[in-house]
Each structure stands twice: as C-alpha cells, then as structure tokens.
C-alpha cells in the first residue's frame, strides 16, 4: 500500500512535466553543470513543471552537435562556442532570443557584457546568452623572478621591457626559459592585435603584410630564436600552462582556465598575473575573447521551456556561484563589483586581470568569420616554420599569404 502510494506520487510529475534536454561538453565541466542544475535550475523551473535532462558529450562536442542538428535529434538547449557560432547562426539552427528577452524579467539584454553578446549576434539578432568568458593574461612564477632578482612583469610593461625581464630571468643552460610560446595564432594573435593588425579588410581578405602583423611576428618568433622563449612541445608539453606548471618557464600567456589546472598540478607554485604587455609603438594591448553561450535549438518543440532553463543557468546567483568557486568569469555586468574580485588570493587577482583584459585595447573575439579554424592553419604553420628555423620570416609569411588567398578564393 505504502509502496503503491510512493509509485503513484512519484509518477504524477513525470507525466505532467515537459522535458528539456541540455547538452554541453565533458571533462570537469560535467560536475559543474550537474551542480548548477541541481542547485539553481531545478528549484527555479519546478513551478513550471519542467524537467531538466542533462546529456554531456565526452568528445568532439561540435561534431556531435552539427550531426544531431542535421538529423533533428539535437538537444533543446546547448553550448555554442564563439569559435563555431557563425555557421550555426547563419544557417538558422539557433533560435533568435530577442522575443524571449523582451518578455523576460530575469534576463535582459543589457545585463550582459556587450562585447560578449556581440559574438552571438548575427544580422542584429541575438542567438545565445554567454555563460561566462575568458581572455589572455601573463602568468608569472614569483620564485623564478625572485631568484633572478628581476622585477615581476606588470601592467606598465611594453614588449621591450617585458622581453628584457624575460631575458634576465632565463637560464637556457639550466633549462629555464623566460616564457613558453606555442606556435599558434590563439596566443600570437593577441600581439598582432596589439600592434594594430586587422583580421579582414573591407573585402573580407586578410593581408599578412600589414606592418603590425609583421612586427608582432618578428617579435614573437624572435623570442624563441634568441633562446629567451621555448615552444611548449620542445619541453614535452602540449600547451603553455603545462610548461608553466613544470617551473621550467617563468611566464605563460593563458586564460583563467589555467587556474584550476595549477590548483591540481602545481598547488605550491607561487604565481601572479598581469595584463598582456603593450606594443611600444601603438601603446595598445591586444587580446582575444573566448566565450561560450547557452543557445536554444531552433527546431526544438519546447523553446519557451528551454529559455526558462537558460534563464536559471545564467541567473545572477548561478553566475556568482561559478565565480566564487573560481571556475570562470561571469558574463553579467552586475557581478563586476562582486566582493570576490577584491580578495587577496592569487586566483581572485588573476581572475580580475583576465576580466580587465576584455576591455583594454584591441580586443577581438576568437572567431574567424566564414573560414573558421582554417584561417589559423597557415599562420600556425608559418610560426612553426620560423620558430624551428625551417624558413625565414619573409618566406614563411609569403607562403601563409598564398594559402590564405587560396582559402579566400574557395
């Protein structure tokens, strides 16, 4: 009798409620989203009889998403990375959120940082609400700088003073280098933007012979050629953060994603963070914005309910919880003055620097229009070729330009 009653009670909400399927990627993200849903989303959507079903995808999330959108089996609410947002917006796979935002009293357009929202705006319509974001900052190992008696990098550094500090702190004979620089536009681009590089001209073409690009290219590869910097792969690491954790390099250029990694892999490393150095000629910094949105599937049958879940996932309380756990930076303007940022911990300070990076100098989203990642391949290969001494700067840039022209003519 009692058991029967329990079954009856338990089955009633399941019959009445609407299921909203939510997807994101795997890794450490799963535990975070699960807790967000448990703490903030379920209580918030309970009155509307909405049941949230979380389906994380372990590998190849974008491949899975493109495939399932095409097949009509995609989830109702999912992550969209700014890196591949454009094709989805252009082909009408995402639901424009403006009508929903107009009616919402939890989430308004002007709650969100405009630079972030811009990455998910296409033809004047908003296709996603950024859940959080990241930019690049200089992370430095305090012990290595103290040992060498060199001042820490700071916000006043230009490329020249920064390189000088790195030169003083590096001891290649002992296997200690100033910085780990990967041959990738994803890091180098910040310096190109700092020197005034424009990704596309009015005709949508890229010109790598712009003085700013060449200047940044020579400086970046020159650090490696002079032995001040090393490629992460050359000390057996896949990325700058990995190299930084081994204490073989004094600095690394990464985003706030390095914080959790350092917490796990190098808990005793004394580090600080500062803004990317300025170009001495332009006096500007450059940076990338990396961000991910929650977007609603245009083909979903429960769009209104999915938006309710989206509201709860990006609510001030949810974002504050994420921020205070040191996981990511909030996309809501109102959290700028959160007491978290005033804490005297390396993580909180680093997060503040990453936060400031979004609005200091020539900041661009990590996005390459209709070319996607293919745009970066020729530039990455040119960086590799010069850093490993296979080509000189002119040869490498000429070859990269040829490849970009081919790409544009496709």
């Amino acid at each position: 009798m009692a058991a029967g009653l329990v079954v009856l009670v338990a089955s009633v909400p399941a019959l009445a409620s609407t299921v909203v399927r939510v997807s994101g990627w795997g890794g450490t993200d799963i535990a975070i989203v699960e807790e967000l849903i448990e703490r903030f989303v379920r209580p918030a959507v309970k009155p509307y009889d909405i049941e949230v079903k979380y389906e994380p995808i372990a590998e190849e999330f974008s491949g899975y998403l493109f495939n399932s959108l095409s097949a009509g089996t995609a989830p109702d609410l999912f992550y969209v990375d700014i890196f591949w947002a454009e094709p989805l917006m252009r082909t009408g796979q995402l639901e424009p959120l403006d009508p929903y935002l107009a009616k919402s009293n939890v989430l308004r357009k002007d709650d969100i940082l405009p630079k972030l929202l811009a990455g998910f705006t296409y033809n004047g319509k908003i296709y996603g609400i950024p859940k959080d974001f990241n930019t690049l900052a200089v992370f430095y190992n305090k012990d290595l700088f103290d040992e060498a008696g060199v001042a820490y990098p700071d916000a006043n550094d230009t490329w020249d003073t920064f390189a000088e500090k790195l030169r003083k702190v590096s001891r290649p004979e002992d296997g200690i280098y100033g910085i780990a620089l990967p041959p990738e536009y994803a890091r180098f681009g910040a310096f190109a933007y700092s020197a005034g590089f424009k990704l596309f001209d009015d005709n949508g073409k890229s010109d790598l012979s712009q003085p700013g690009f060449v200047e940044a290219f020579k400086w970046y590869t020159g650090l490696v050629k002079s032995g001040v910097a090393i490629q992460p792969a050359d000390i057996g690491q896949g990325w700058g953060g990995g190299a930084f954790a081994t204490e073989k390099v004094a600095t690394a250029i990464e985003g706030a994603w390095i914080l959790g990694f350092l917490r796990d892999q190098a808990p005793n490393l004394r580090y600080g963070a500062t803004l990317i150095p300025k170009n001495p000629r332009t006096g500007q910094r450059g940076n990338f914005i990396y961000t991910v949105s929650w977007s609603v599937n245009a083909a979903s049958k429960v769009k209104a309910e999915a938006f309710k879940v989206l509201e709860a996932l990006t609510s001030p309380e949810a974002q504050q919880w994420v921020l205070r756990r040191g996981l990511a930076l909030p996309s809501r303007k109102s959290l700028l003055n959160d007491p978290y940022f005033k804490q005297d911990t390396p993580e909180a300070k680093a997060n503040l620097v990453v936060f400031q990076g979004a609005s200091d100098g020539n900041v661009h989203p990590f996005q390459f229009g209709r070319y996607g990642g293919d745009w970066m391949t020729p530039v990455n290969e040119a960086l590799t070729a010069v850093m490993s001494g296979e080509m000189n700067v002119d040869q490498a840039l000429a070859q990269a330009q040829r490849q970009l022209n081919e790409l544009a003519s496709r």
């Binding site: 190849e60 050359d234 990642g373 990455n380 590799t384």
Partner: protein, 365 residues
C-alpha cells in the same frame, strides 16, 4: 522445394544479419555519398545539384592534391614494407626453436594494442626532448667510447679467428662464441682506455633537437616520391603495427606447404635460396595477394594515426585522403563542406578499387 533451393535458402537466412548491415551502412551510405558528391550541401540546408563542380574543385585544391600524394606514397611504401617484413617474420618464426611461442607472442603484440595508445606512446618517443633524440644525443656523447669498443671487437675477433684457424679449427668469421669473447675483452679494454684518459665522453655535445613531428621538411629533400618527415614517422609506426597480423597469414600459409616439395628439392641439391625462390614464394602467392590487397586498402584509408597526432604536426605534412574527408565534414569553426568531402570520398573509393584490380593482375598473373 528442391534440396538445392533449400540449401541456398538456409545460406541466405544465415547471411541475413550481415546483408542487413551491409545494405544499410555500406550500400545506402555509399549511394548517399555518391549523390552528395554532385551537390553543394552543408548538413543544414537542402542539398543543391552542382554537377561535377566538387570534383573540379578538389582537383585544383592544393590541400587535396597534397593529401592524394601523401596517401599514395604512404600506401606504396607501407604496403611494400609490411609485406616484406611480415614474410621475413613468418619465415623466422616458422623455425623449430626452443621458446618459439614466446617470440610469436612478442612479435604479435603490436597488432593487438590499440592504435590510438600506440600513436600516443609514439608521439612521446618522437618529441623534441623524447627518447629518440635522447638516444641520438647519448650516441654523440659516447661516440669515442663506442668507436673504441667496436674497433676493439673487430680487431680481437679477427685475431681470435686467425688463432683458431692456425690451430686447425674451422672457425667462421661470425663464430658467436668467439664474438662474445671479443666483445668482453674489448669492453674491458675500453674501460682501461677511459680510465687512462685516452678516450673520453664528450660532455660538450649539444643535445640533438631534431623535430620529428613539428616539421614540414621532406626526407630526402625532393617532392616525389619522397614524403614529409612526420608522414615517414607514421609509416614506421604503421608498418610496425600491421606487419604482425600479416605475419600470421604468412605463417599459416607456410605451414600449408607440403614438406615433400622441399625434400625433393633437397635431394636435387637446391640451395636454401633456390628453395625459397621456387617453392616458398610461388606456394604463398595466394597469401601474398591477400596480404597486399588488405595492406593497400588499409593504408589508403589510414585515418586514426593522423587524427591522434593532430596539432603536433602541420596538417599538410600528415594529411591523407581519409583525413581530408573528415576535415571537410567537420572543419573546425566553419560550415561543413559535405559535397567536397563526398567527392573526395568517392575518389578514394575509385582509387582503392583501381589499385586493388591492378595489383591483382600483377600478383595473379
């Protein structure tokens, strides 16, 4: 129903599950691919017919041509290498030796390990600070000692053999027992030379830092039929992992050759080489056809090792046709190019079929 028809029906019933998957996943899949290769399609909007434009586009695209050249070079080199190696291994493991089962298991191990795991281990070996460069550095550091040891061994072996022969023993130049003695004496001499400071380790040597993966260099330094160094690294890897499977096929083939053929040849005074050339090779012809066919198909469609190496090597120096297809279906951050990918996939299928038909003519002539 006649008995014959009943038998045929039984066969089809047993084949049904396989035929079902064949039709759904291969026949239907191939027809769709064939259709898509004549359309412009991005997964989301309805495909639009463009005729042969995709084929024209890939034939002028440098990346496709690179992938085609890489695939063909890879296929020819690896198929040849793995066929020769697997035959050699099979001949070696067909001997009646003590502990032969151990060697059979040891040589077979690479082919049962996950190709992804092997590729990962391989990437560590070929890092700039990996085991490969470390070993080369050690050779450079100790080159004087190594030379002294090798020279000493050669001289001592010569002296020992000469001494044995002078005393009326028929010692061969490579006599193992003498070789071991020579090596031990030479090692002792090298230690003496080192302590007296005649030869020394060179600690000033710059560590070898050859980039094996992160490079676009060709070795040898010409375009065709040479290949980029990272692709050559993949060739070594692929040969090493696939040869054991083919070795098993050859081993089975060798056991099937009637012993009396060899006995008759032995009676006629045929040398070991003549026996191999005129009995073993012709008897193994069907196995060779199978090995070369499977090898060609496998190497032309090689994908996983390229995918795992990923960003560690420049795309153009490892891209194969199969990876080109994948790269066009999911181009990071851009819209899928299904039509172009399908055209490349059809080209790959036609190429595979053509190569297999040609080699059938050659082997089964």
């Amino acid at each position: 129903m006649t008995e014959k028809a009943q038998e045929a029906l039984t066969a089809y019933v047993f084949l049904l599950p396989y035929l079902f998957t064949l039709v759904i996943f291969f026949v239907y899949g191939f027809m769709r691919t064939f259709y898509f290769s004549f359309t412009e399609y991005n997964l989301f909007e309805a495909p639009s017919w463009v005729g042969l434009r995709n084929y024209a586009a890939i034939m002028t695209e440098p990346r496709f041509l690179t992938a085609l050249r890489n695939s063909i070079t890879f296929s020819v080199v690896v198929t040849t290498a793995q066929t020769v190696l697997s035959l050699a291994l099979a001949l070696a493991l067909n001997q009646r030796l003590r502990g032969i089962t151990f060697f059979r298991a040891a040589y077979y191990t690479p082919s049962v390990m996950s190709s992804v795991v092997i590729t990962l281990m391989f990437m560590w070996l070929f890092q700039r600070t990996g085991a490969m460069n470390y070993l080369l550095t050690q050779v450079l550091v100790f080159r004087e000692l190594i030379m002294a040891f090798l020279l000493g061994t050669a001289v001592l072996q010569g002296a020992l053999v000469w001494w044995e022969r002078r005393h009326g023993f028929a010692a061969a130049w490579w006599e193992p027992s003498l070789l071991v003695t020579a090596m031990m004496l030479s090692a002792a001499a090298t230690v003496v030379l080192r302590t007296t400071g005649v030869v020394a380790a060179d600690l000033e040597v710059n560590p070898v830092a050859t980039p094996w993966l992160n490079t676009r260099r060709y070795f040898p330094d010409w375009r065709f039929p040479s290949a980029p160094i990272p692709l050559e690294a993949l060739m070594i890897l692929n040969t090493w992992t696939t040869a054991p499977t083919f070795m098993l096929l050859y081993l089975a083939g060798l056991q099937d050759i009637p012993r009396d053929l060899y006995e008759a040849a032995w009676v006629d005074g045929a040398s070991a080489w003549q026996q191999f050339r005129h009995i073993t090779l012709p008897q193994l012809r069907h196995v060779t056809f199978l090995v070369v066919t499977l090898g060609l198909i496998g190497t032309l469609q090689m994908f996983d090792q390229v995918a795992v190496i990923g960003d560690q090597a420049p795309l153009d120096s490892i891209i194969t046709l199969a990876y080109y297809v994948y790269h066009n279906v999911f181009p990071g951050g851009a819209i899928p190019r299904i039509g172009q990918a399908a055209a490349a996939a059809v080209t790959l299928a036609v190429l595979t079929l053509a190569v297999v038909l040609v080699q059938r003519r050659v082997v089964e002539r």
